[in-house]
């Protein structure tokens, strides 16, 4: 009779964790390079962040003669306030078009104004009109990629949650330990390469725009496996999202509604944002660009209004859209018009009445540190997509995640296939480690008494939202770090779950996720304490200015249980890309 520590052994060349576009693109590329690939999805394969995306795609397509790769590069570095990994950013810019054509080849129909001219729009922080889109948004992107997976016969395992990457004695990847929640059995996928494409950490926050499964699993797994994380103190908050009803709270309202005419014309005005007194509070934060400012400035401005008591009773502020934009908005974003109708009402859906909005955690700017081929410092471990860090720096341009996941998903797949070819098959190295880990992870099911994971998760989400979110300061960060450490050491060992069966045990899955969330909460708080400045999405009330000394990245790794934070020079920039960096270089 099978016991809890019985593990089914499987073999692959490349294990991809994550069923979003980055994971799927990696699987496709690895398969096409001849590797035997398995893709793991924590739940049903369509439950991923890409699916929820507005699907906008920044690319220099050649259709705007004023635009060029250098301009896109500069926009990305400026938005990232100079701390992007310049090499990765350059690759993003240079390869985005080829990947857009790939998606078209897969069957995606980019919106068009004419048969051979894509429809393009502006994005906040971009200089030129260059953003492509398709009205099926993230749904269409995930569907066409799934069909490419089917076409190639790539094995997709739903309800397979990666819990650990196991390394052999030499520190190389030996495989991935996985719990198959649909059958309640453990599987060890013996493989020389694992690609982490598990998305971001939005679920760390009380109000977020992401799916419930984005608990940063892969990033925490990579950290535990010895990889370095970079820029984890940077979390992007979208400025406008739904305030109610409960289920929709935090779900992004997207730029076209907000930017209004500015969505098409860089010189036009964006929708006004008013507090409960009717004041245009953004003017005090960015008098030049006003409500057309970047996401970080807007999110912070709205958050401060709410914190200082000038928000609505429901916890938002008012956006006053321009009704003239409605026709274009309906054409470009019918799904969002529908949600406005269902959540708020018809006048709001027609952009004829003020719309309540609030900031929400959207995108994890940092993540696993990767090189130009998505390799981490752990041999055999790669990362791509939102789980990886460095491409976008301190703040991401809207519309840049879609090309990121295609470009780096593909590169991760190609690199992993290469690495797998060169590596020795791990056999069953790591199986013993996996067994030991299984015993640790099934502990909550053994306990009769204890704390339920949901309560602890709520506590973590509230601490993160209040203190390690849009507005941070030293004493609150330190308080949170102490709280996270206390939770890790004293509460986690007391977790218990109601159901003792492993099949679709949501509470147990939440206990596994909670460990990952806490690992990340700790490093996010620790790195936030170190960075004594404000930059992009990172805002400290005790250090509200940008400090040129901090045009640098913080790398984090775990060694013997200790968190080590190191400051490093910005990667890949031979010549400074921003005016500010040039000044710093000249001064030094």
């Amino acid at each position: 009779m099978a016991t809890a520590s019985d593990i089914f052994l499987e073999h692959a060349d490349v294990v991809v964790a994550g069923s979003g576009a980055a994971g799927m693109r990696a699987a496709i590329a690895a398969h096409d390079a001849g590797a035997n690939v398995v893709l793991l999805a924590k739940g049903p394969r369509r439950a991923n962040h890409t699916r929820m995306s507005g699907g906008r795609y920044n690319v220099v397509s050649g259709l705007n003669p004023a635009d060029g790769n250098d301009a896109f590069f500069r926009d990305t570095i400026d938005s990232g306030v100079g701390i992007n990994n310049h090499e990765l950013t350059r690759i993003l810019v240079d390869e985005a078009l080829a990947r857009a054509y790939d998606l078209e080849e897969y069957g995606l129909a980019w919106d068009r104004t004419e048969a051979d001219k894509y429809y393009m729009s502006m994005t906040g922080g971009g200089t030129y009109v260059r953003t492509l889109g398709s009205i099926d948004e993230g749904i269409g992107i995930t569907e066409v990629m799934l069909h490419q997976m089917h076409k190639r016969g790539i094995r997709i395992c739903d309800f397979h949650m990666l819990t650990d990457v196991i390394r052999d004695g030499g520190g190389c990847v030996a495989g991935g330990l996985v719990i198959d929640l649909s059958k309640g059995v453990w599987r060890f996928f013996s493989a020389p390469t694992v690609i982490i494409a598990t998305g971001g950490t939005s679920q760390l926050y009380e109000t977020s725009s992401g799916p419930t499964i984005n608990t940063g699993d892969g990033i925490a797994i990579a950290l535990r496996a010895g990889a370095e994380l970079v820029d984890v103190e940077f979390m992007q908050f979208i400025p406008i999202s739904f305030v109610y009803p409960q289920g929709a709270r935090g779900y992004t309202l997207t730029e076209p509604a907000h930017y209004g005419p500015r969505h098409f014309d860089p010189n036009a005005e964006a929708a006004q944002l008013l507090n409960v007194k009717g004041e245009r509070f953004v003017l005090k934060h960015d008098p030049l660009r006003k409500e057309g400012s970047t996401r970080d400035v807007l999110a912070r401005a709205i958050m401060l209004e709410i914190l200082e008591g000038r928000g609505t009773p429901e916890g938002g502020v008012y956006m006053v859209p321009d009704p003239a934009v409605f026709d274009a908005f309906l054409r470009e974003r019918p799904i969002y018009v529908k949600r406005l109708l269902e959540n708020y009402g018809e006048p709001q859906a027609r952009l004829q009445a003020p719309i309540q909005v609030m900031p929400s955690a959207l995108y994890t700017l940092g993540g696993v540190r990767i090189d130009r081929w998505c390799r981490t410092c752990v041999p055999g471990l790669l990362a791509a997509g939102e789980a990886a860090g460095g491409v976008h720096g301190a703040n991401r341009l809207g519309g840049s995640s879609m090309p990121d996941i295609q470009v780096f998903g593909r590169r991760a797949g190609m690199a992993a296939a290469d690495d797998a070819k060169a590596a020795r098959a791990p056999g069953d190295a790591g199986l013993e480690q996996a067994r030991a880990r299984v015993a640790e992870l099934t502990a909550p099911m053994q306990r009769a008494d204890g704390v339920r994971p949901t309560e602890v998760k709520r506590r973590v989400q509230k601490l993160m939202w209040d203190h390690v979110g849009l507005v941070r300061t030293a004493n609150r960060l330190e308080e949170s770090l102490r709280a996270f450490t206390d939770l890790r050491e004293n509460v986690m060992p007391r977790l218990k779950v109601t159901n003792k069966s492993r099949v679709l045990n949501r509470e147990w899955m939440e206990s596994l996720e909670l460990a990952n969330l806490l690992d990340l909460a700790q490093v996010m708080a620790a790195t936030s304490i170190e960075r004594k400045e404000t930059r992009g999405a990172f805002y400290r009330t005790d250090f509200p200015e940008t400090d040129p000394d901090w045009t640098a990245n913080l790398w984090v790794r775990r060694e013997s249980g200790r968190v080590l934070v190191e400051k490093h020079a910005v990667a890949g920039s031979a010549t400074p890309a921003t005016a500010e960096a040039a000044r710093v270089a000249a001064a030094s």
């Binding site: 739940g43 049903p44 394969r45 369509r46 439950a47 991923n48 699916r51 929820m52 397509s61 054509y101 790939d102 078209e104 080849e105 897969y106 069957g107 995606l108 129909a109 980019w110 919106d111 068009r112 104004t113 004419e114 048969a115 051979d116 398709s134 009205i135 099926d136 948004e137 993230g138 749904i139 269409g140 569907e143 066409v144 799934l146 069909h147 490419q148 089917h150 739903d158 649909s182 799916p211 419930t212 499964i213 109610y244 009803p245 409960q246 289920g247 929709a248 779900y251 019918p334 799904i335 949600r339 339920r452 949901t454 109601t498 159901n499 069966s501 099949v503 679709l504 949501r506 509470e507």
Partner: protein, 234 residues
């Protein structure tokens, strides 16, 4: 929201663990909250406060992933989009086999989708510049590509229940490929193999679709093609 009323919901949820139970049973729960709660909000509340062993599926909670479909008072809906009712009976989506409680096994759905090969079968590689697609056609293709594969239509379809018919969603996806200018496969033939002729043309699928699509219209388009031949070059 200060002007939203409160509600007390009585929800009967189907519980079934195939490894232990001989047959499904119903458990009744009461949840109080705002009247604009969704069915998913109610289920999550039950899971968090009353039945920690409840198995249910959701992810995006805003009607984008399509994975939370269940039956509410007999009607298939997306749990995250459907407003709660004072009296609700919540069951897993039929006719799919239950994995546990409200979660169904989608293996056969996925294998059926895979067998249809819904990637465009191209004559030539991508031209390396924008493919020629008329703007209206591009918009139509995108609209069809916004199908969530939530299976609400398949669950509601009376023909699926009575006849050898794959279901509306599959026909819609086949139609999507049929209308894609780059696709060269005989999608009409695939649709016929999938039981397209069994459709009653009743538009129940059109009514229940959470993405405002009409699989029935896709089938009607296929039937017109059957009568009059296809407009696309072979």
């Amino acid at each position: 929201m200060s002007t939203v009323a409160s509600i007390t919901v009585t929800a009967e949820i189907q519980r079934f663990d195939p490894s232990q139970d001989a047959e499904p049973r119903f458990e009744s729960f009461e949840v109080s909250g705002l009247a604009n709660m969704s069915v998913l909000d109610v289920v999550r509340s039950i899971y968090e406060n009353q039945a920690g062993d409840l198995a249910f599926q959701f992810a995006c909670r805003v009607g984008r992933c399509g994975t939370c479909a269940v039956r509410v008072n007999g009607r298939p809906v997306l749990a995250c989009q459907e407003r709660c009712k004072a009296q609700m009976r919540i069951e897993p989506l039929k006719p799919f086999p239950a994995l546990r409680d409200l979660v169904v096994d989608r293996t056969e759905i996925e294998s059926r989708l895979a067998s249809f090969e819904l990637a465009p079968l191209r004559n030539n590689a991508h031209p390396g510049q924008p493919e020629l697609i008329a703007p209206d056609l591009a918009a139509k293709l995108c609209h069809m590509d916004s199908c969530l594969l939530c299976m609400v239509c398949v669950s509601a379809c009376p023909a699926v229940e009575e006849r050898p018919f794959d279901g509306p969603a599959f026909m819609l996806k086949l139609r999507h490929m049929a209308e894609h200018p780059a696709d060269r496969r005989d999608r009409l033939d695939q649709a016929l193999q999938g039981g397209m002729l069994e459709c009653f043309n009743c538009d129940v699928c059109t009514q229940v679709c959470p993405a405002d699509l009409s699989p029935a219209q896709a089938i009607r388009d296929f039937r017109r093609e059957l009568f009059f031949g296809r407009g696309k070059e072979a």
